[in-house]
Amino acid sequence: MIKLKNISLMLLTLGLACSSVNAQENITTKESKGAIKFASNDGEYKWAFGGRAYMDATYYMDDATDLSSRTNISDVRLYGTATWGQWDAKINFSFAKNKVSAKDVYLNYRLNENTSIKMGHFFEPFGIQGSISSKNTRFIGSSNSGQAFGIGRSVGIAATNYTDMYFVSAGIFAGRMNNDNMGDGGFSVTGKAVYTPINEEGMLVHIGASASYRLPDANGFDAKYNDDDYNREVKYAAGPEHKFLNADIKHAGSELRLNAEVIATYGSFLFQGEYYQNKVNRKSNYDLQFMHSRPDMWGWSSTEKGFEDWYGVQRDIETKGFYAQVGFLFGSDYSYNSASAYLNRPKAGSFEILARMNNTDLNDIDGIFMQDKFWNATINSDGSDKRSAGQTNFSVAGGESTDYSLALNYYVSNNVMFRLNYTMMDIDNLHYRMDDQVSYLQARLQLNF
């Protein structure tokens, strides 16, 4: 039903757009950056249709857990955009993996040349990699930190203002569009501020910070307690098949995500980095369980604390990550777009090499991990943790990894791009103790029109 709904919506939109085009007696067309754009003669109405496809191949060199090396078409998109007066609209659907999913679906109102208000489903303004399209990332996909902590698209409303010196965007959002879980959705307040003290031809310094306060979506509804509030969860996942970096933080009360970013270019040189820090405040339902229990001859359970002693302490969880990458562009210089607070796509014919170091830490562990649970530990005489028993806690062992990547990009034309990446990833994940390192080669032929 969801697929049908999405397909119908897309066809309806394209149909309406086409009928509008046909209704115009005099239409002009022009080519811009590899795409055909339509406009009414008076320039009041503009339309564009396009799409893109990623043809990928991945080869894993793994040491224990087998990963699925393969070729595939990882994404296919079709989109339409329209502009009239002060308004812009975009509808963009993905058909990746034979599933239809909404990407950008928004209406944008320009108050003036530098200020706009956007409503719909679009990127929350948070960090660099978390708020740009995958077609613009320097590597194939975001860094593991970017994948894990970047927010992506949500349904909401946001205002943006920018100049050559700064970029400010903030909004309020109400969860993911494809959230089909039972229970109430969450909300978030997200903002990003960027300062560009140097923004000249051939030279850029861009520093910024983002913050997002979030009430996560509920993941189900417990009829027994007539409650969904305790059941919210936050997931961070990244890397190959999301195996070695994967934290599922249940019983989440609220979440705070922070980000710092920097971009610097000098001619053909690029430096880009981001730091992420997140905190999930836990919320148990022990009070509810206690109110629905009654003591018995086994002494179960006489206090609310007794539930915590038995089921474990709901610890707050902190995670973090960063990456730093350098690049060199052959054939052109890097250029900057103040409206998106990111770099423009290099000119056709350019050739780019990059190196990146990334660290993603999804471990927040107190005590000893045994049998998929965390036990509060005592200390050995030599100062090391002693495997203990008794009370458990809800620590999280999503894994930590440091990875090093190299990339080669060739911007063949405005429509075609070829990418080649190599990544070596050191792994520290309690759920994958046999895996110390995995490396992989990725290639992508990227079409857009």
């Binding site: 191949a57 991945t58 793994d62 087998d66 070729t71 045994m370 759920h431 103790r433 046999m434």
Partner: protein, 465 residues
């Protein structure tokens, strides 16, 4: 970049994609079978010298130990005087007992949490049938018949003398291991295994003033006498503690109890000398006379705290809350590291097969993991010859010979180079001590399970003949 031709570049890119795609068809990862995992996964090893010394002592005192599970669950009502006397005379190296505590603080030998299965509580205390053992005094427990259920449940092995067998205490078990029995009313001047037991008689202040067969005038503790039918075996005792939340302070109580009765091997000042005979079981007079066991991590830590350097067995059960959640190498490695940290000496995994049909967590690669840190393996519970041969690895050898039959047995051709001794158990808990003795070549000619029962006075068979 004029050096690049667009069409050629796209073709080159497509070729690169294809090559990576073809390469991905290769099998790039080592197949991780159980043995690979067992050998590769990081684990701690025992380095504590005192722990290593205890393990060495165990190998010396009780190699290939036969541990009589609850005395016997097959031939006698479990954990009764009949069960423990039979196991002793049969020739078990250890008497295995489950420790619980009565409301008046007496350490009991009883398995279940309640008394439904192994007593006539529904007749005696109908309002308390599901009550925890800790709600009963010893005197209340001694009022129950802990033998008739067996006669009704296992009619083939029913015997008249099992009727009105009593729930045992840990003291009863130690006394039997030392060659004693419960003093009973004589029948025509002769010992009668069915006779009324004598208890310690007490006055109004609880002082012991004599002995009586009237339970109501007693404190419930038995009077013992030298067992005239004892054949000289002196087995050790293998007590199991439960989760500490059920019996808080149990481990400390156990330490005091063992010391008081001279069975605490680490306390030379109180250690009792228990005379033994050559050619008979003599574990009771060794440093390994007591082996502590538990499924609970928390209880294991308390045992280590209260009874350091007394041999300890970490029992493994797949699916337990604070035990082995799963039988993956990671899960097993977790528990092994816990055992190293807490000075455990023995690992006790369950075996598969009828009649218990427990999870098989004693596979060869698992045994290799249990042995890697330096532990011994005492698996539970053996009921058949097939189980004994399987978990001792006999089926890998020519003519399926056991190491007890042939010390120089040879691996079958297909297994040469793949099978090592550390893939199998060192000892086992058994419901059929007689079968295990026969398997090990320790059975005495003409002595059978039933002949031992008859010799001990349990001669009146009332089940199918």
């Amino acid at each position: 970049m004029k050096y690049f031709n667009t069409k050629r570049t796209i073709l080159a890119g497509a070729l690169c994609l294809s090559l990576i795609g073809f390469a991905s068809c290769q099998d790039d990862t080592v197949d991780m079978n159980g043995l690979e995992n067992a050998e590769r996964i990081p684990m701690k090893t025992v380095t504590n010298q005192a722990t290593l010394d205890v393990i060495s002592q165990l190998k010396k005192d009780a190699p290939d130990a036969i541990i009589a599970h609850r005395g016997s669950t097959f031939w006698t009502p479990e954990e009764t005087e009949a069960a423990f006397r039979w196991a002793r005379n049969m020739g078990a190296d250890y008497l295995e007992v489950d420790i619980q505590r009565s409301s008046d603080g007496v350490l009991l030998a009883l398995h279940d949490n309640n008394l439904r299965r192994t007593s006539n509580i529904e007749s005696v205390y109908p309002a308390r049938v599901d009550a925890d053992i800790s709600n009963f005094t010893l005197k209340e427990l001694r009022a129950l018949d802990a033998g008739t259920w067996f006669n009704e449940d296992k009619t083939d092995n029913a015997r008249q003398e099992f009727v009105n067998q009593k729930i045992s205490t840990l003291e009863d078990v130690l006394m039997i291991a030392e060659g004693n029995r419960v003093k009973r009313e004589l029948n025509g001047g002769n010992y009668d295994a069915d006779g009324k037991p004598f208890y310690q008689e007490i006055d109004g202040d609880g002082n012991v003033i004599g002995e009586t067969t009237d339970l109501s005038k007693s404190n419930g503790h038995f009077i013992y006498e030298v067992d005239a039918l004892d054949n000289g075996n002196r087995p050790g005792v293998y007590p199991e503690t439960k989760e500490p939340w059920r019996f808080s302070g149990m481990e400390a109580d156990l330490a005091k109890f063992l010391k008081k009765h001279g069975w605490l091997s680490t306390d030379a000042t109180t250690l009792k000398n228990i005379p033994t005979q050559a050619g008979k079981v003599g574990v009771a007079n060794t440093k390994s006379r007591i082996i502590l066991q538990t499924f609970s991590w928390q209880s294991m830590q308390l045992l280590e705290k209260n009874l350091p350097n007394v041999p300890k067995c970490m029992l493994l059960w797949k699916g337990g809350y604070d035990n082995l959640a799963g039988d993956t190498p990671e899960m097993i490695a977790d528990v092994m590291d816990f055992c190293v940290d807490n000075n455990v000496h023995i690992v006790g995994p369950s075996i598969g097969g009828a009649p218990n049909k427990y999870d098989d967590i004693t596979a060869p690669w698992m045994c290799k993991m249990y042995h890697r840190p330096g532990f011994l393996i005492h698996a539970y519970s053996f009921d058949t010859q097939d189980q004994l041969k399987k978990y001792n690895g006999d089926y890998y050898y020519e003519k399926t010979a056991s190491r007890f039959d042939d010390a120089n047995r040879v691996l079958a051709n297909e297994w040469k180079g793949n099978i090592t001794r550390d893939m199998f158990i060192d000892a086992g808990f058994t419901n059929l001590t007689d079968l295990s003795l026969k398997y090990q070549g320790r059975a005495q000619t003409g002595v059978t399970a039933e002949s031992v029962l008859v010799d001990l006075g349990y001669e009146t068979k009332v089940g199918r003949k």
